[in-house]
Symmetry: C2
Subunit: 203 residues, 2 copies
DNA sequence: GAGTTTATTCCACAACCGTATCATGATGTC
DNA sequence: GACATCATGATACGGTTGTGGAATAAACTC
């Protein structure tokens, strides 16, 4: 057997290069050559691990979604060993507000993918529906649990509140991306709305 | 003097063709040839009225923003001869939720422009900051007026509430675009949050 | 009606893109 | 150490793109 390489590892490396290039020049302006250069490999090699550009783009999309999910999980874990509903919600919502260059880059590219899915049939469909749906249902469960525990008024519409919060995070996230406000201001708005539901923090 | 044509009118016609093509295939896949074909003119003519593709794109972006502004105004006027703060807010927020094909197409393209502005330096900057900023400030003024009139609790943070509402509209709007929910469901969520501030409708 | 200016078209060019072909280096087995 | 196989590289090709040049049609003035 000749030289063996971990294909999955190589694919991740190339996908990461794609994200870097896309964050810099926009997803629409990403070409095989730029990705190859960024990854430090030849164009042919990118083609070797991804049969076509479409495949490469789709793989990078899944890779990016996975990374964002991991970042949310890391944030939840950082909130303590036994995070309550508010901590889970806050971790999720804050992750939508890019506050450093790494998260900013990821969100720029993720947003570009979402936009692409609006018109490109090969990317459309379940891609941007299933993921957000399970996340939203999960958070609704968290909020209902908080209601059952008496931490949150029972007359709130948990589904409407969670839908609103997630939309706030997404909407404020893009407003941060375009430079309308900074991440700190966006966090204050999200905290205000969490306080509105859970009552003021630690108070 | 030879044949005279209203240049501005022609530009609008071509910009509209661009929007139609972009809504169908995505802004990234819009070429001069497709725009020309959609507008029923030759490629060279598009170049005649817009010196370059960049200029064409920028013009179409401003045209689209203007059209969206007009749609909001039309909604506000449709709310009655003397619309109160809630009516103004509702008209603005509902406009972010595409419910027919025309508004869906406009929002698809507008979203694509916002994404483009994240990476393209020729489009970035004030473009997506000034417009939303003046809108937001205007709505904060509306909400503060409602507070002064006693229609809304004075202890609410008007700025945070408006920022949240606008983000909700934008976030839910994209969730409608990707097909996560339909416009009716999104409207219910927005109405829930307006009721939370203003109290139940007509009650 | 000749002439000038505007509006419009056809066509070609240079650059770029994704992809395919062919060749080469590397590394394990027998 | 020969061979098979995987990994990688250099390069060429067909197609598409934005753009510019040259020419034609139309309409108004004098």
């Amino acid at each position: 057997m000749p030289k063996r390489v971990d294909h999955e590892e190589r694919r991740r490396q190339i996908a990461q290069a794609l994200v870097a290039v896309a964050a810099r020049q926009g997803l629409h302006a990403v070409g095989m050559r730029e990705v190859a250069a960024e990854a430090g490999v030849s164009v042919r090699l990118v083609q070797y691990y991804f049969a076509s550009k479409d495949r490469l783009f789709f793989y990078a999309y899944r890779y990016l979604g996975e990374q964002l999910g991991l970042r949310i999980q890391a944030r939840v874990r950082a909130a303590g060993s036994r995070p309550g509903p508010r901590e889970v919600l806050e971790a999720t919502l804050f992750e939508g507000l890019p506050d450093d260059e790494a998260s900013r880059n990821m969100h720029i590219v993720y947003t570009a993918y979402a936009t692409l899915a609006l018109t490109d049939p090969s990317m459309a469909g379940h891609a941007f529906v299933e993921g957000p749906d399970v996340l939203e249902n999960h958070l609704v469960g968290q909020l209902r649990a908080a209601q059952d525990a008496g931490e949150v008024p029972g007359d709130l519409d948990a589904a409407a509140e969670v839908a609103g919060l997630l939309a706030i995070s997404a909407g404020l996230g893009t407003s941060v991306l375009v430079g309308q406000r900074d991440a700190a201001a966006a966090k204050r708005v999200v905290t205000y709305h969490l306080d509105r539901i859970f009552g003021p923090r630690s108070g």
